[in-house]
Symmetry: C2
Subunit: 340 residues, 2 copies
């Protein structure tokens, strides 16, 4: 248990011949300390190699200068950018970032919220996929501020950032606008992404008086390239080749496109393909992938800013909800362009 070498504020005080509180004042830049005293103490700090014990400070001030980010899986390409944006903002405000993967597992998500006050954090950003009712309770009872990515309703005690409409809506509208009537869907399990990815498919069809053919829907096991490849095999075997495919994310779109091309099916001439996420890979495949940007970095930045602001001002001010507009990005996978 031996507290190693650690030199404390008391050691410094003794060495400098002052009281602990004076040392405290100096390391906290409290004004009104005689310059000569200050330099005496500074010197003692230097000589002793004193470093304040933040743990003790935190115990006293109740500020840990740390926030958590709970996400599905950092290996999913959406999250590194989100995490990066969050860490940037955190760092600017002198906060560190604790990263937690919950793998979309509802019980994990609950367990995280149940442990927030054992976590040395001042607040938490949750990017939840499934959203069990129990989670809402946990959030509402949480002692630390919560910032949510996604719109989880008005009865949740948390600031939120979310898109003004599902990305998929833009993707579908685009396909319809360029003349597709027979549109296929390629995605992972329907429930994931709070179901909005798939729901947008159904909604857009019905909003445009197009009929939903269950045969046009390919549901894979995840949101990977592999799923895209399998979707291509499925879709290319359909009795009637769809004019367009709405892929639930760019990874799927890319796998899908590659496989279609291998099979001699031209994109976009035979099939137009649009994805969602605007990951960087989408700009370098051939054809480059039309997609919908969900403003990942912007989302992370705002979520972090909302949280830190909330940490600073407490639960007094009203909850904030920030809506972001998803943005359609048209590239060659949906429209033939002049120059390659």
């Amino acid at each position: 248990m031996a507290k190693s070498d650690s030199v404390t504020i008391a050691d410094v005080a003794k060495r400098a011949g002052v009281a602990k509180s004076t040392v405290s004042r100096i390391i906290n830049d409290v004004p009104g300390v005689k310059p000569v005293t200050r330099s005496k103490v500074l010197q003692a700090i230097e000589e002793l190699g004193f470093r304040p014990n933040m743990l003790a400070r935190s115990l006293k001030t109740n500020m840990k200068q740390q926030i958590a980010l709970a996400i599905d899986d950092i290996r999913n390409p959406y999250y590194p950018e989100l995490a990066w944006a969050v860490e940037q903002v955190a760092k600017e405000h002198g906060f560190r970032l604790v990263l937690i993967n919950h793998y979309g597992n509802p019980s994990e998500e609950l367990s995280i919220m149940g442990k927030v006050n054992e976590m040395h954090i001042d607040g938490i950003i949750m990017s939840t996929i499934s959203f069990p009712a129990a989670l809402k309770k946990y959030i509402n009872h949480s002692t630390v501020p919560v910032s949510l990515i996604g719109n989880l309703g008005d009865d949740v005690n948390a600031d939120m950032v979310y898109l003004s409409k599902p990305e998929g809506t833009l993707a579908m509208e685009h396909l319809i606008r360029i003349g597709c009537t027979n549109i296929a869907y390629a995605g992972g399990p329907k429930e994931v992404h709070q179901g909005t990815r798939y729901a947008a498919y159904e909604a857009a069809l019905s909003a445009n008086f197009l009929k939903l053919d269950p045969g046009n829907v390919y549901i894979g096991s995840d949101f990977s390239l592999q799923t895209g490849i399998q979707a291509a095999d499925y879709i290319s075997g359909l009795p009637e080749l769809p004019g367009g495919v709405y892929a639930a994310n760019d990874m799927i779109a890319i796998g899908l496109i590659q496989r279609l091309l291998e099979k001699g099916i031209r994109v976009p001439e035979d099939i137009a393909v649009v994805g969602v996420d605007d990951i960087s890979w989408s700009t370098i495949t051939r054809p480059r992938v039309s997609t919908v940007s969900n403003l990942t970095a912007e989302t992370g930045r705002i979520a972090a800013e909302l949280l830190i602001q909330r940490i600073k001002e407490g639960q007094t001010t009203p909850l904030r909800k920030v809506q972001l507009e998803p943005r359609l990005i048209v590239r060659e996978s949906t429209v033939k362009v002049m120059e390659s």
Copy 2:
């Protein structure tokens, strides 16, 4: 400053009619507490909704149950998997993960090591790119254990995980084995990746009595797809087309291959291309990319285990160094295969 509602061990003790120490014993599973007392206390805990303040506990025990991982940039595709592996192991041992990006910035790296004891962590894993001498001093003076990714020498007080040889060596040997004599290099700045990516190029050439033609070396500004594309433009314009290209990572290799194909240069027939990293994308491009796996997840896992073991046993036991064997993975970008 108001310490909100927080119910403490003292509240529980009063409610249960026992001493604080008894409550402490119970929440720490210290044996030798009469069952009836135990249940009385447990009930009080339940009724009051008591949750131990880990900060206070940490101050006393000096264990924060938290480790840090300092990396270049989480957006670089190597790191999410590393971070994931580290977090897995951390979680298994009841530790949380603090993620820090240093952007390969030497002064940032130093600043991180300078702040380790203000960070509420029990140890830190550093994946450093540049390795200034000053960093060595910081590490050797660090009060918390350090686990290093990469071999930084014998005079550094840290456990280490690293590859037994540069990945590039395997990549180059492969190209040479399949008959390339005129081999180009495509990479980012030479110093990055501790210089091993490029150094392997020079070393392999001279080990095989091949002459180094500076005109065959393309140095881009980073390790992105874009650099690969630019490298392709450069290499395809060379007076004599090289028989093979060693790309410093798979991103570059992929950008390079796509661009070569666009220009009507066949891969691997005209040029064989090998990358490094074995990122998942390399399995779905056409042709799929031959590469060298650097065992990312394994590296993360071991780094985390070394660190946590060190945290538990202290600086008494000798330093550990774990070597991993990089593995060549041959795909279609270097050899023509029978079935596509």
